[in-house]
Assembly symmetry: C2
Homo-oligomer: 214 residues x 2
Amino acid sequence: MKLYTCTGAPSPRRVTLYLQAKGIEIDQIEVDLKAGEHLSADFLAKSPDGTVPLLELEGGDYLWDSMAIRRYLEDRFPEPALMGTTAESRAEVLQWSNWVIGQGLQAVAEAFRNKFSGFKNHALTGTRPTPQIEALAERGLARYPYFLDDLESRLQSVPFVGGQHFSIADIDALVTMEFAAEAIKIAPGEGHSTVLNWQARINDRLETDRRGQG
Amino acid sequence: MKLYTCTGAPSPRRVTLYLQAKGIEIDQIEVDLKAGEHLSADFLAKSPDGTVPLLELEGGDYLWDSMAIRRYLEDRFPEPALMGTTAESRAEVLQWSNWVIGQGLQAVAEAFRNKFSGFKNHALTGTRPTPQIEALAERGLARYPYFLDDLESRLQSVPFVGGQHFSIADIDALVTMEFAAEAIKIAPGEGHSTVLNWQARINDRLETDRRGQG
């Protein structure tokens, strides 16, 4: 297997942090997004929308959806479980991970890709030209703080985003918050003390996993 | 278990067609979206964003994400498999189902919810006011045909959206096309003959399932 990735981009990080937390080692190939390598004919033949992460399977098939890549790896490498272990917890983790993406990551991406000049005519991924929409950038900025408020409520009732155990929902929320701090300069603040405590705990945990493989 | 649903709305139909294809019978409770029943305090206590479908589990927990609801039911009722049977096929079905939602259903929803007066200040689900963005409605209308073009290519290489077998990816694509025909008046046409053949096959199959339970 090979993982095509780009250090620093949020979607690949949803997978690379997962690999780190699982202790899975896969050959990683860096794709130069700034140079447009993801829109080359060669890469588009592997990833129809020109996105990373992209997982090349041993049989030569490709997976280019971050959730599907982790679903595949979780089946291949069940321990430690990061996507639930029962019908209920598997559904809960998937639900909250999808919630983080829809309410959090997508809000940040809308704000970022519809505003910054580097994405002119590329407000969506893929090769088809998509003009930026200023009002959509504003909507993303306006709604991202709601995500932090709702995450605060969630973490007041359960220790992890996906429920009782550390999971990909925590990874996705952490990546979303890193992306927001970097791309749109919004961080948790007053009223988000539970989120800040959770973030410190998750970062400690991931750092321990990283050192364990060092 | 109980399923809160609304006949005719696309997201609940992703689950009710799944139940029909699986032969699973669950008590269904109709929620009156036009009367705003989904935004009542009682319903919001069950479904944080006020959305249907909503599955109430025997233990009293709730699932409100269409993919998570089907993930849960698939674990409880594995046969007939509609979400893949191997690590590869489970990932492929999830990937293509997510693709249908992101490229197809979301384009239609953007076009519909940002244009029609019934969604004024409710361009997104939930209780927080979200103004409509005319340019986003236009973008949805412009990009939905790309989904049909790309689905045509996909179905020229495999018999079903999720690969070699009928799956939830077919259900999601069928629901998306019904929603597009109704809400934004765009149907497959010239250049989509493979999609039209596939649609006829899937409808026949679902009709047979329905009669089998009649």
